[in-house]
Symmetry: C2
Subunit: 110 residues, 2 copies
């Protein structure tokens, strides 16, 4: 396992007027802020990777991210949540408001 | 764990003349072909997700992908390898030529 934790942040952008998209709701800024937070935290740098990615599926609940190998999904993320996410990546608790549990009825979409 | 396997394929594009990039060497086409292969395989659809992503780090060895939760890295992937990768995702062996093991000297880059 190259990284202790690999975070993928949806930065997918959709045209205005259709389905919401993480990229249009702050995903790009969240990914950059999280990369910066990791790069400046001695206990995270080199151990945690943050990679922007395409559509993760729960578009209406975004901005969305997923971390592996644990497979934890986060949704409704804002840039203001980045310090709490970094603290969680360093071993702290995950705030309940950010936790996303897939409903079996949810249909992943591309 | 929402998916049995989540595949992230680097589609990062860099300007011509600099460091190579997966997006300029077929990453986009590989991601699309793998999405199609998964969508049309009854034992993979719904269980395996394929998401394009930004830079994964080993730019000189790309096109690159990583799968989770197992944390297996693949490099030097071509579109012609997609059937073999789909067969691996369905439980077959991973061809040695595609296996990528990080050297500790490798420096991840964004």
């Amino acid at each position: 396992m190259r990284y202790r934790r690999h975070v993928f942040v949806c930065t997918n952008a959709r045209p205005v007027g259709g389905k919401p998209s993480c990229g249009a709701r702050g995903g790009v800024e969240i990914a950059a802020a999280l990369q910066r937070a990791v790069a400046t935290a001695p206990d995270l740098v080199g151990a945690v990777a943050v990679t922007p990615c395409g559509c993760l599926g729960p578009c209406f609940d975004g901005p969305t991210l997923v971390t592996y190998p644990d497979g934890q999904w986060l949704a409704g993320v804002g840039e203001a949540d980045v310090p709490a996410i970094a603290a969680w990546l360093a071993g702290g608790p995950l705030p309940d408001r950010l936790r996303y549990d897939w409903d079996d009825d949810d249909e992943p979409s591309g």
